[in-house]
Structure formats: structure tokens, C-alpha cells
């Protein structure tokens, strides 16, 4: 397939062809990673889904008032230096959906279960997620990372 640099407006104009056919493109954007920062060995650290700085956030756009199915793929551990791992857990209310995209106005849901969300009248919505990192007492120092995947299914 061929690819070449485009100006944003030109690219968007090309997307307009599809827009004419389908009214509005869809996007799922990971806009903020779930971040714990520094943790103390042996001391679990929970990040709330309402934490405006450290919670994970995805923004959705699509068709007005359409339902979408949200499903998370969650890691059990995060990977660190020299093969070290750190457990991470997700509670039953660690995910939230906001049709107004406001972090203070969420409907909680279990990130281990599929959730049916309705985009708002402008075709938008946001998903927030928190978790608890559980470092061991002898946790090796360094940087630990993992991947959190959100799957969004659109129903035609």
C-alpha cells in the first residue's frame, strides 16, 4: 500500500469522501496512560478512575446516540528490569464511562466484563480506568510497564 505525507487538511479532505458516504468516521483514542509514578516496595498503590492526572483515559467518537461495546484486555503483571514483574489488579468498579466526557460524571463498570455504552448526541464519550499496583517487599528497582487494550465494537 502506498503512503505519502499529507497536510492535515488535505488528509481530512480525503477523509471527506468517506464522510460523505458514512457521515462521520470513528475514532478510539488513548489520550492518557494509566500512571502510578513512584511506588514503595511492599505498599500497594491504587489509582482511581476519577484521578484526573494518573487514570487512563480513552476518547471515543462515532455516530450520534449509537451503542458501542467496550471490552478491556487487562494485564496481570507489569514487566520490569531483568525479567522482574509486578502484579496489577483491577477491581469491579475500576472502569468508568462518561457520555459527557467529564471525569467527574462517570458510570462505573467492571473492566473484566463487557460494557455497553451509548455515545452522546454529538457522537462522543470517554472511558476512564484505574488499577492497583502491588509491588513486592523486595521489588527490584526500575521502570515497570504493561499494555492496557480497549476494544470498541460498533454495531451497524
Amino acid at each position: 500500500m502506498h503512503a505519502r505525507p499529507l497536510s492535515p487538511l488535505l488528509a481530512l479532505a480525503l477523509l471527506g469522501v468517506a464522510l460523505l458516504q458514512a457521515q462521520r468516521p470513528i475514532t478510539v483514542q488513548g489520550v492518557r496512560s494509566l500512571t502510578f509514578g513512584a511506588v514503595l516496595p511492599g505498599v500497594p498503590l491504587a489509582i482511581s478512575r476519577t484521578d484526573a492526572v494518573n487514570s487512563g483515559q480513552y476518547n471515543l467518537t462515532g455516530q450520534n446516540n449509537h451503542q458501542v461495546q467496550l471490552t478491556f484486555t487487562l494485564p496481570n503483571v507489569m514487566n520490569g528490569p531483568a525479567g522482574a514483574t509486578m502484579p496489577i489488579t483491577f477491581a469491579g468498579n475500576d472502569a468508568g464511562y462518561s457520555s459527557s466526557q467529564a471525569i467527574g460524571s462517570q458510570v462505573a463498570f467492571d473492566p473484566k466484563q463487557a460494557f455497553l455504552a451509548t455515545l452522546n448526541g454529538n457522537g462522543r464519550g470517554s472511558v476512564f480506568i484505574g488499577a492497583t499496583a502491588r509491588p513486592a517487599p523486595m521489588q527490584r528497582a526500575g521502570s515497570y510497564t504493561g499494555t492496557l487494550t480497549l476494544t470498541v465494537a460498533y454495531f451497524p
Binding site: L150, F155, P156
Partner: protein, 277 residues
């Protein structure tokens, strides 16, 4: 360029300029492939400052309802001959690609159906998985500390339909029932697809009093592939005791899909009496 197109483009441009992370813009949100062309395309655009690694795959699945009447996607790992699966013979090219910042790429979809495929509509789901750059965890130069963070990835699933020969659709409504619980009207029904193609349209429910005044209503897009038993709810104010009519209507009107992909069908209606004690 029409005014109708300029507004969404301007809004999308504004949004694209402010998006800082992973994900791609995808259009259209539903793909229809005609048997005469056997191909279609999906456009991806990366509005972000980081390249997006994209993986494309397909599977067979369709909307069903769970025990609570919620519409969920059923995934069928091994569809049999009775399933209308096109997942095995619609291929995407390329299947792996990197979309550079502010670039667009086209995904080609090519159908190679079995030779004796009967007329009708066949379905698959397209998965577009996008992975952006790793989000740095600040302060890692302090080797005595433990730093933790999770990177976000996104997967978007859209519908694909392959149409061969004469395709027709419709629905049959049965078991319409409802109740008022607190400030909500709840409506249940059984909706079964007719014909050999999915029914894609709009469902409209309402509660009408004896004077013909609408006291509650909802409207939602719907796609019926086999059978749905959905539950819908609508806000309703205080109702005086008496007789009301619960009405349900399904039409093939959809504003989010191009008219040429809509399979027209006559509106289907049903109604039942609802008594408020």
C-alpha cells in the same frame, strides 16, 4: 465542497489538532461489498504526533442480546456452514502497516467467496488494532525507585457485509410488552430477521395515552442479524392511572449510512395496551 461536509471536516480538524496519543481515525464505520466488485476499502488517518502501528484482522460475529436485553457482540470462533460467515474469504491488504503522523492509508478488502455461494448477505467483522509509541515514565534516571505505568492500546471493530445476488430483509415483531418502573418506561420485544440479509434500521418506541399524547419515547439504531430480544428504557413523568398504548416501529431509515447501502423494507409496527393501576 458542500457546507454539509465542511462542518464535520472543520470539527475533525480541530479535534485532530488536539489529540495527543494513540489511535487512528477510521472511515467508514460499516463496510458493504457488492459481489460484482468483490472489493472495498477502509481509510485510516493518523492525527497524532507519533506513528501508529496498525494490525488488521477479521472474525465472524454478530449482535445478539443477553439475558438483560442488552445488545452484545457474539463472536463465533469456528462458524459452520449454516452461519453466514464471510470471515474466511474476505482478506485485508495490508494486514500490518505503520501510519505516520498526519498521514492516511487505505486498507483494501478483497472477497474471494466460494463458487457456489447462494444469494444473500454474508458477514464478518474487521478489527483495526492501533498501537502508538510507548508513553515514557518520568524519573527513571533514579535507579533506586520503582516506577510504574501502563500504555494504552485500542482496537476498533466494525461490521462488513458481502452481498450477492438478490438480497432482501425485513423483521417480525412479537412478544411486545412493557412496564413503568419508577420514572422509566421499560419495553421488551422479540425481533426476528426475515429474508437473507441483516435488517439495519431504526427502532422507535413510544407510550401514548388515551388522548394520543406521547408520554415517553426512545429512538435507536438497530441491526438484526438473526433474533434480538432487546430491552429499551425511556424516561417517563408521572402517569395517571388508566389505559395507555405501547407502540413499537422499525424502519430502515438510517442517517449514518449511505442510502445506496440501505436495504429498504416496509415499516413494521406493533402495539399493546398497557394499564397503569
Amino acid at each position: 465542497m458542500t457546507r454539509r461536509l465542511l462542518l464535520p471536516l472543520a470539527l475533525l480538524a480541530l479535534e485532530a489538532a488536539t489529540l495527543p496519543a494513540q489511535g487512528v481515525v477510521i472511515a467508514p464505520h460499516a463496510v458493504y461489498i457488492d459481489a460484482r466488485a468483490r472489493s472495498a476499502s477502509v481509510l485510516l488517518y493518523n492525527p497524532n504526533a507519533e506513528p501508529a502501528e496498525v494490525t488488521i484482522s477479521t472474525f465472524f460475529g454478530y449482535p445478539v442480546t443477553d439475558s438483560l436485553g442488552r445488545i452484545v457482540l457474539r463472536t463465533v470462533d469456528h462458524p459452520d456452514s449454516t452461519d453466514r460467515s464471510a470471515a474466511e474469504w474476505i482478506q485485508a491488504f495490508p494486514r500490518r502497516l505503520t501510519v505516520a503522523p498526519l498521514e492516511r492509508q487505505t486498507i483494501r478488502l478483497l472477497a474471494t467467496p466460494p463458487a457456489a455461494l447462494p444469494d444473500g448477505e454474508y458477514w464478518a467483522r474487521l478489527v483495526i488494532a492501533a498501537k502508538g509509541g510507548q508513553v515514557p515514565i518520568t524519573g527513571v534516571t533514579d535507579t533506586a525507585k520503582v516506577k510504574v505505568g501502563l500504555t494504552l492500546e485500542v482496537r476498533t471493530i466494525i461490521g462488513m457485509a458481502y452481498r450477492k445476488g438478490a438480497v432482501r430483509t425485513g423483521v417480525a415483531i412479537s412478544r411486545l410488552r412493557g412496564a413503568v418502573a419508577g420514572d422509566s418506561l421499560e419495553l421488551w420485544s422479540r425481533i426476528e430477521r426475515q429474508g437473507n440479509a441483516a435488517y439495519v434500521g431504526t427502532i422507535h418506541g413510544s407510550l401514548v395515552d388515551s388522548s394520543g399524547r406521547v408520554r415517553a419515547e426512545f429512538r435507536a439504531p438497530i441491526g438484526v442479524y438473526y433474533v434480538l430480544e432487546p430491552r429499551y428504557a425511556a424516561a417517563v413523568g408521572a402517569l395517571a392511572p388508566g389505559r395507555y398504548w405501547l407502540k413499537l416501529e422499525l424502519t430502515t431509515q438510517r442517517e449514518d449510512l449511505a442510502p445506496e447501502v440501505i436495504l429498504p423494507s416496509a415499516a413494521v409496527r406493533d402495539s399493546v395496551e398497557l394499564r397503569i393501576p
